[in-house]
């Protein structure tokens, strides 16, 4: 795996060296045509560009990939100075961390998983992925799903506007039958209202100093404009209030809220005051069932959530270690497959030859007797080969799997040939991600 990301390379360089979605298919084919590149896939997002490849020789392959990269994108090799090159287990672990969002700028974000899936699909469409990358990407996607469900690394809001939605959920549970009141037209308030609409809030009321602006905002959110001078009445109707006016003083007084609470029979009222200076009298927070938060409080939620994600990321690392081990195991059993196949072919060839000789010497055998002899010999061969083939697959997945594979091929005098028919120097050096 050869790549660079937001940690190693500044954004101007990243945008220069990245492939666009349209360029990737052609570049994949060109990469695949390079000597020593058996399989290849490219992940290219605004935060990272990474080439995943199965190489015949890692050291040589790295130089080839780098040269191709700078040539294909028309950038100087210096632009790729921030690139990292990982092989084997480390490369597999890296893809799993990327897919799980652990390598992302915002820890635990889930968009990257879709981008990893896309990268795989594009490469598959170009027929540049084979068994190994197929297995690796599949395992990485499965790993990311495990990380998302088994840890909280992708849970809890990490932006101020989502934090407001999260708090609303902690108070009201489901938001489906709730009403939100938007006072003022701040950008952050609009974003929060948008999120609330997205989670299916029932109704949205908008009020503003200028009625035209209120009507315009109401249209964008599919809500209703209400007059600003009836604020206490609107407070009684809404469950969530978001204020973000540019007013120099307090817009919502404690008395207003108190009056509204009486009118709404003390059903909980959640007020988010995003304005600076404050729109809502802080004393309103003392009222029963009034939950008042300002922008600093929301930022505190975000900070605490990010810390929580970092804690959960440690759990995610354990899952990744497990999945990498599983992938390694699968990879080794893959090594056993061609050996088993050639052993079976060898045995079948011997059986067929011996049967031919036997039938030549006993021409009087009936068709039925021939069938019986043939079936019995094939049974014997299968029974004898059963244990070695099962065991070699298991042993291949163990610690010194390579040794067992080597011993297996030496014992049975099997040709050491790669899956793609190329001669391979050794099982361990051949395949590096």
């Amino acid at each position: 795996m050869l790549g660079l990301n937001h940690k190693t390379t500044p954004v101007e360089v990243r945008s220069r060296v990245a492939w666009t979605a349209e360029q990737i298919p052609a570049s994949l084919s060109a990469l695949h045509a390079l000597p020593g590149v058996q399989e290849v896939a490219i992940i290219s997002t605004c935060n990272r560009t990474e080439i995943y490849a199965v190489l015949t020789d890692p050291r040589e392959g790295r130089e080839r990939l780098l040269a191709f990269w700078s040539r294909d994108r028309g950038v100087s090799p210096g632009d790729l100075a921030g690139s990292y090159f990982l092989t084997g287990q480390e490369a597999a672990a890296h893809l799993m961390r990327v897919a799980s969002g652990l390598d992302s700028m915002i820890l635990g974000e889930t968009q990257i998983l879709g981008q990893v899936k896309d990268a795989y699909e594009v490469a598959r469409a170009q027929a540049t992925v084979g068994k190994v990358l197929h297995g690796l990407f599949l395992q990485a996607v499965a790993c990311a799903k495990r990380v998302h469900t088994e840890t909280g690394v992708s849970q809890n809001a990490v932006s101020v506007s989502y934090a407001a939605v999260e708090l609303a959920r902690k108070i009201f549970g489901h938001l489906g039958d709730r009403c939100v009141l938007l006072v003022g037209a701040g950008k952050m308030a609009g974003l929060t209202a948008r999120h609330l609409v997205d989670v299916g809030i029932r109704e949205i009321l908008v009020c503003n100093r200028t009625p035209e602006r209120a009507a315009e905002l109401a249209r964008t959110f599919g809500g209703r404009a209400v007059p600003l001078d009836d604020l206490p009445g609107q407070l009684a109707a809404a469950d969530v209030v978001i204020t973000s006016t540019g007013a120099p003083g307090v817009v919502v007084t404690r008395e207003m809220v108190q009056q509204a609470m009486r009118a709404r029979r003390y059903r909980p009222l959640f007020i988010v005051d995003i304005a600076v200076p404050r729109d809502v009298d802080p004393a309103a927070a003392e009222l029963e069932n009034v939950f008042l938060y300002n922008i600093d409080d929301l930022q505190a939620v975000v900070r605490s959530n990010l810390e929580e994600r970092a804690r959960e990321a440690q759990k995610a690392e354990r899952i990744i270690a497990e999945e990498v081990a599983r992938f390694q195991l699968w990879l080794r059993t893959l090594d056993a497959v061609p050996l088993i196949r050639s052993l079976r072919e060898r045995a079948e060839a011997i059986r067929a030859a011996e049967l031919r000789r036997l039938f030549n010497r006993l021409p009087a055998l009936s068709e039925r007797e021939r069938e019986l002899i043939s079936a019995t010999t094939s049974l014997i061969v299968n029974k004898i080969l059963n244990d070695p083939t099962v065991r070699v697959k298991e042993l291949a997945g163990e610690k010194d799997g390579d040794l067992y594979l080597r011993a297996f091929s030496l014992l049975f005098n099997l040709p050491e040939e790669g899956r793609d028919g190329e001669l391979r120097p050794s099982t361990s050096a051949r395949r590096r991600g």
């Binding site: 088994e150 840890t151 909280g152 809890n156 708090l167 959920r169 902690k170 108070i171 009201f172 549970g173 489901h174 029979r265 003390y266 059903r267 909980p268 927070a285 029963e288 069932n289 939950f291 938060y293 409080d297 505190a300 939620v301 605490s304 959530n305 929580e308």
Partner: protein, 271 residues
């Protein structure tokens, strides 16, 4: 034979409840082992059911003759209610708070002397069974309502203090907890009223003494008053949240006091 089985099942249920409580704690703090916690709870409750059944078989009466059996039965009802709530509301976090209570009740039942209790009253024994089962059924609901209310108070404090820490994350929304406590009280209240009424009828028929001489009676009436006030305040006055949560907690406090202390003074109540 049955006695031995009963002992074994009782020990199993105590152990399993403690394990389930531990598993729920683990689930609460590190978000792992949720399924194990649910399984342990179900198994514990099944063993517990076995104990109840064993008493039934051995004594040919429900396990309601002594304080020991009453506590055992209360724990059983609470466990049953919790399992239902867990399934219906998907509130596994509640287990972190309920299971210690159930486990403690069960331990307490184990520690209480197994005195033979009052001789079963010959007449009206059906009444007394109804009276006791209904009363304890109500108490089980109140126990859970108390837990939900306590969780509400915890979460409300987190939200007010703007302390966005573990409890804020793990506890469900205020609305969920408030609605759950209310439903449980609404479920338990009629049972409590029936228990009081059957108790009064039965007492006057059987003993011919005025029912209000039993010291358990004023406490029971206080319980009725508190939960009645809870429902009235919510429905009529629109109270909700912290104030009603305190009422639900206080109500169960009186229930426990009634069950443990008032008994000692009561001539007529085994429990």
């Amino acid at each position: 034979m049955i006695a031995a089985v009963r002992e074994a099942l009782f020990l199993a249920s105590v152990t399993l409840y403690l394990a389930a409580a531990g598993a729920h704690f683990l689930h609460f703090f590190v978000r792992q082992g949720g399924r194990a916690a649910a399984w342990l709870t179900s198994l514990a409750w099944l063993a517990h059911t076995g104990v109840v059944a064993a008493i039934f078989l051995a004594e040919h009466r429900p396990p309601l003759a002594t304080v020991q059996e009453a506590v055992l039965f209360l724990a059983w009802v609470t466990g049953l209610n919790y399992l239902l709530v867990e399934r219906l509301f998907e509130l596994r976090v509640a287990g972190t708070f309920v299971l210690p209570v159930v486990a403690l009740l069960q331990l307490y039942a184990g520690a209480l002397p197994r005195q033979p209790g009052l001789a079963p009253e010959p007449a009206g024994s059906l009444w007394i069974v109804l009276h006791a089962v209904v009363a304890l059924g109500g108490y089980g609901a109140f126990a859970l309502a108390c837990v939900a209310a306590a969780m509400y108070l915890l979460q409300e404090r987190q939200l007010r203090a703007k302390a966005f820490r573990l409890f804020y994350r793990r506890l469900p929304s205020l609305e969920t907890l408030d609605a759950l406590a209310f439903r449980l009280v609404v479920f338990g209240f009629p049972l409590l009223v029936i228990a009081v009424v059957t108790g009064a009828l039965w007492a006057s028929r059987l003993w011919g003494v005025p029912w209000f001489t039993d010291p358990k009676v004023p406490w029971s009436l206080l319980t009725v008053a508190i939960y009645g006030a809870y429902i009235a305040a919510r429905v009529r006055l629109g109270w909700r949240g912290r104030k009603t949560a305190y009422l639900a907690v206080a109500g169960f406090g009186v229930v426990l006091f009634n069950l443990v202390v008032a008994n000692l003074l009561s001539p007529h109540h085994g429990f």
